[in-house]
Symmetry: C3
Subunit: 443 residues, 3 copies
């Protein structure tokens, strides 16, 4: 065979190998997306279980609304925002690919990437909105929640992602931010957005006595919550898989630094275990132990690519030890009623994760911008805190001022399911005991 014929064969192979890589990446993010639906099944179970029976369906309905409305919002706005703002507030040229009438945003036989990346990001967006969802149960109005969820999941977090979870984001190019597992743009932003909302929303009726003592309000079905939380852990393999980029021959972080999925596997599992054990040590409570699994994932998320597994275990163990105490502080000192501890778990979990990477990954080089540093991580963390808190506070303030943030006290006491849901959770049961329960402690 002559050289021209050999070359033709080689070029055909090159094309086949390139196509195989393209398809492989497409398949990988397809499964990431699918597994992230488990996060939503999990949040649904977790939050319904964490509600009193009289509010169970209203809590679940919120999760469905967040999921349903985030998808088109993220299609029409979110993806464009991500592409538009890596440098701050000026629109990047690359943003044109995210406009709904762009060739990339429809079925396109020459583009095996845009749809699948959009899908994975959309599930990230829905997850971010779901983080707020559990904190505000049992008194928020459906419509207000939906507006806040769209704001958080469709706009705010994705601006943070464009800034700090993007190959050219300014937090990385200016300050060297390293946050491969999205502890900042997803968890910190969602946690502090939620804090802003909770300040305006106020505690559930009966959560504090007239002299400010805390009254325990327990969800009606703890087993359901635990199963939901374990489904979320499963789904995190989709989420964290979606945090590693596979578009050439090998893995990269979102910052174009090299990585392996093996390192993610080591540190995800060691982080989950560290957080669970830490939370167990201080609480002995299975609910906090599973919240500790989330704390563990979040605490180690920024350095999944570089941590030694034993270090990931320790960082997450510390998170698991400390964060339940922060939840107590928020409740007992600040008198803020976060029904599931989302501000502590996600907000402070994200803060700790970002700062820990500044301690333990300092000096690690970035492709764009300076190396990882404590100061860069710390200042980036503050940006995420502010970027989350301010819109959450202002939007919920406006909704409160309009009188549409919270259901009427009578509806809250009777149960939101009566006020907002046309079906009953447990129509045969004596459990929900609408309005007449003697066991529901806080009416």
């Amino acid at each position: 065979m002559d050289n021209a014929a050999l070359l033709a064969k080689i070029e055909a192979l090159e094309a086949a190998v390139a196509l195989t890589k393209t398809i492989n990446a497409e398949v990988f993010y397809w499964w990431c997306t699918a597994l992230m639906v488990a996060i939503h099944a999990g949040f649904l179970a977790y939050e319904m279980g964490a509600s009193r029976a009289k509010n169970a369906l209203a809590s679940g309905l919120k999760n469905l609304l967040a999921f349903a409305f985030l998808v088109p919002t993220f299609y029409f706005f979110g993806w464009w925002i991500y592409l538009a703002f890596p440098t701050g507030f000026t629109v990047s040229d690359a943003a044109a690919a995210g406009l709904p009438w762009s060739e990339s945003m429809g079925p396109n036989l020459g583009d095996n990437a845009s749809g699948i990346f959009w899908a994975a990001f959309t599930l990230f967006a829905a997850t971010t909105a779901s983080i707020m969802s559990g904190a505000v149960i049992e008194r928020i109005r459906m419509s207000a929640f939906t507006i806040l969820a769209i704001l958080l999941g469709g706009f705010v977090w994705i601006l943070g992602a464009s800034w700090g979870w993007h190959p050219n984001g300014w937090l990385t190019s200016q300050w060297g931010l390293h946050d491969v597992g999205a502890a900042g743009c997803v968890h910190t932003i969602a946690g502090f957005f939620t804090l802003g909302v909770l300040i305006n929303l106020g505690p559930r009726i009966g959560r504090f006595t007239s002299d400010g003592k805390v009254v325990h309000i327990a969800g009606h079905n703890m087993p359901m919550s635990l199963i939901g939380l374990m489904l979320i852990v499963m789904g995190f393999f989709g989420f964290l898989g979606g945090c590693i980029i596979y578009n050439g021959g090998t893995w990269m972080t979102i910052y174009n630094t090299p990585a392996t999925l093996s390192a993610f596997a080591f540190n995800t599992l060691m982080g989950v275990a560290g957080g669970m054990i830490g939370a167990y040590v201080v609480t002995r409570d299975p609910f906090w132990m599973m919240s500790g699994a989330l704390i563990g994932v979040i605490s180690s998320a920024p350095g999944l690519d570089v941590y030694h597994p034993a270090l990931a275990f320790l960082i997450s163990f510390v998170g698991g030890l400390a964060i339940p105490k922060i939840a107590d502080f928020i409740l007992e000192r600040l008198k803020i009623d976060d029904a599931v501890g989302a501000v502590a778990v996600h907000g402070f979990g994200g803060v700790w994760g970002l700062v820990a990477a500044g301690i333990f990954a300092a000096g690690y080089p970035n492709v764009e911008g300076p190396a990882v540093s404590f100061l860069g991580q710390f200042m980036s963390m503050l940006v995420f805190v502010v970027l989350g808190f301010v819109p959450g506070y202002l939007a919920s303030y406006a909704l409160k001022a309009l009188g549409v943030l919270r259901v009427a006290p009578a509806a809250e006491i009777a149960g939101l399911d009566i006020a907002e849901v046309p079906v009953k959770a447990y129509p045969e049961a004596t459990i929900p005991a609408y309005g007449t329960s003697v066991m529901s402690p806080a009416e």
Copy 2:
């Protein structure tokens, strides 16, 4: 190195690349199959929750029976039927590969495809049978259900798949049918088979008053149903992944037209969201909102490869708006007691999806046969309706004539769990209240 040596290296690479593609396809359908098991976990939760507590385990047992019996049925008969009948009723030569004693139907180191395709199709078959399963709860006899499930999942739908969801199926080669996501052979057939069964099965005792008014019968655990439905949505990524063919360098639809998984990702999520929002707008009911997620998937399924995401959203939104009304019509006008709305969701969802592709994908070229057309889609839809309805009606008519279709009225009133299940769902609870409930509305 001389040219012969280079050629040898090239040929080794060609073999390696071909093998990688083969393995990649095998892996892809393995995960499709696994994710589709989530559909069955989901249907199990959904249908037990949609039953009154006295019937919960009997409802779940049905799902287990359908799954267990469909697997061997599909092994011994179903796969052969698929390969045999693309031209209508004459047996194709290719069918020999589906005979249980064929080399393809066992462990075969030279065949990395047959087993995994069979597995994915088997889960499709079990899913099809599960669609009927929810509609007939609380009065069907286990044995009758199992027979009907085997007929539907092991024979009827797969004949429809051979006709209309096959590279050479006559509905495509003659009429240009385009239904990449199996809205016809799975959903339309299952929905109308179910309608045929429900006519003979009759409503649950107490579903209608003596003057024909509808009495609401609520399932005992709506949260369980919602979680189940979200697991079904997760499983649909396995199902729809199983609808795209990956056996060479790139993706094709089942009709050998080019496609991308990215387009499937766009339109699956936008379809789910559109259906959820549509159903929410007309019902405000979380159960219908999750049924709307299914409606959304089904409505957009035929054109997942070609729709613009905004169009998929709209088609599914219309489905979500309209189909709850169709469920009301079936119940209130036709006096047919479909316990979960399966005829409307799957039957009319499939009809709408097929017709919508005739409107919005008309003119799209097929490899075999004419281009997509309204008439071709409409006539194919009628074929699926008839192919589903007639066997469902006749088989249930025969079972009714034999007196074995339905449990005795006393067993129905006492609860099927007492009659057909040796264990209790909630042995400690006052909830199930076997035979004595004052809250179960329809006894």
Copy 3:
């Protein structure tokens, strides 16, 4: 183009193809790991449902403890044990790669395999510990359970895996053991370890009358158990996927014999169905039917690569028929109180699976060691039985002697949730009825 340039292109392609294979394997085991988390969500639901309400959270807490503690244990000890002991009790040179300070055990851009294999094995370890977990509910002390779980999942089973589920394990190289799906090292060992523990732990208070009659103790939420078991079936696709090796161009069993994932797909589904139908025939009980799904997987596991699907169905059907009877025998004759039948399902399921492969796969050649034989399978089975039973018996004997194996009778009667868990499962319900239930049969 000259030959040197062509060669350079070819070598670049060879590197790209090799890297693609590496990445593909990494992705495959990532999803195996993720899906195996579904096993843990499933066990959690299954065991909480199988407990009386007063013990539900204590049962679930066990599962969380097993998962959390197994991860670091397996990191620091388990993986080293696997690499160390294939020849019996002398340490292999290869074990150095499993030491926590080895380059393989941390993030390493040159090693895309160790982390992901470790992760999959860690989930195997947690699964093994979970098998014991259900049997001992409602009376074991949390701390004792955690110690036993660590012993079983972090040490005992992995020694068995090193011996019999390893390319160079002595059971294979000496006796020709063939057990591709880990029926021996996981299921048989876990089942007989559990038997050893149950002998020392003793039955729940009230399980037998004073004259030795069995009193039925039902779990409080059978639907929850059934959903959990179906999630375990889904997770088994991760587990069995993790049993096939993909590190070159094609599939191999753990013993380096060739295999296809297609054969695994055929036989997994046919095994599940056979076990379900077998158990249904003898019990009509949905709980046993789902246990039958596990029996089916286990029964066919050793020969997933070589069985004809119809044979896998039959082997698993026999398992499903026989094993519920063995559970009855263990309970009624041996007076051993295994709350979920784990000894029968996993212990005897594993025994039957290993022996069945000695009957039906006899003569199949191994790469290392003699061909598969009945005697080799039978003796290997005995090794697994002893290797499981002895440590389980001795460790639980020691814990009993120290008086820390079991909770105090008053705590058992009141419910372990009061004694060991700071939150309530169903705080609003009349269901749990701590200490006052008239329906809980065995107090």
